[in-house]
Subunit: 250 residues, 2 copies
Amino acid sequence: MLEAETITAAILVIGDEILSGRTKDKNIGYIAEYLTNLGIDLREARVVPDVEEEVVAAINALRKRYDYLFTTGGIGPTHDDITADCVARALDVGIDQDERAIAMMRERYKPEELTEARLRMARIPLGAELIENPISRAPGFMIGNVITMAGVPSIMQAMLDNVAPKLRTGVRVEVETIDAHGLPEGIYGTELAKLDARHPQVSIGSYPSFTGAGFRNQIVVRGRERGAIDAAADEIRKLLAQMTGDGAPG
Amino acid sequence: MLEAETITAAILVIGDEILSGRTKDKNIGYIAEYLTNLGIDLREARVVPDVEEEVVAAINALRKRYDYLFTTGGIGPTHDDITADCVARALDVGIDQDERAIAMMRERYKPEELTEARLRMARIPLGAELIENPISRAPGFMIGNVITMAGVPSIMQAMLDNVAPKLRTGVRVEVETIDAHGLPEGIYGTELAKLDARHPQVSIGSYPSFTGAGFRNQIVVRGRERGAIDAAADEIRKLLAQMTGDGAPG
């Protein structure tokens, strides 16, 4: 399903603060939606702590398996910001202070403000392209298929806008959402499974959400061919019309 | 750091809808904070699609490495709900309709409402303990060190409350948060790194957040011994007091 002409991606979120629950990640959901709109299939996301061995292992596992790997977090000026060094180690390239990065940072900092700590943010793996950061200047970077961005959502989002034009994209997935109008999944589930098996060119999902007042189910048809999506969606609408339910979840 | 007497955990979020960006995950952040409060260290989180091979591989990678694995999503009545079967396959145990689960579901459904699809929700790996679901009745389960819960946040949260008393917990991590009061990371970063190296019994992080009005930095000291936390926090306060800055980020 959905395998033709696809470009795949993974996200690696780096940071103890996400795993302790102190900071709630907002980047996975944002990047997921963004990549879907570009026609890139996000296939996996991981969150790992600020531990070099863990970060390097995750970078290597994900960059080898998917067309792109997006990392967020760990590129600031403090000792727990180890992402650039981890990317360099994973790709087995050197890392040093990058004059282009320092030039970007000079747009913001006076020479005497470029402290040793801030210059950590100019450490860029050798051979990387920089990704501009219009908010706080210290750049992200792209090397091979690894795209390294900040963890602060507003900065990450600006970097993503700046790197997006450089990415290969596939045929965009189109989505049709059908409201089950109170019909429970437990009523339509078996027939929907048969219908799904008859429509291998699309992916069909059923998603309950609970509002307190009860469940609301939506059936989502995703695919890259409009005709195949329409055919499946029409059958689903007919199926739902044939059925009645009590509005209960599941 | 923080290795003594720790109980570790991972989270596996299962669902195409998270990776497409259609649904924004709220479970990782909730579980992360919950486990921290219990004294369990969350070490990794992953999001994978509704693809059996992917789910099984992730379950095995994570359950073998951490004391507990919490899964969310994929235990409803439709064809894309494959988590219970994946757990059974990963643990190499059988799976069948569970009479205890059916009894729970009878509290809600009349006999004629127990459709084939709904009975999918009673498929439980052999040997699992059930986790009650006060909202929609179909239970989660715990088998070995794998805890399988619903993806709908309100149901997941109720299941987590029900399974929590059964978990082994470690010494709870205590946290001290110190506001940098406008001092930029780029000013205190180098000295903080030295301070961190002198205090191996605690973990020190520096976290910027961007409000639009500017950056606000907080330094967080985490540890399991109050004396070690206090000693590091006192030094950090003295360090910050010695420094002045312009309030700029990074």
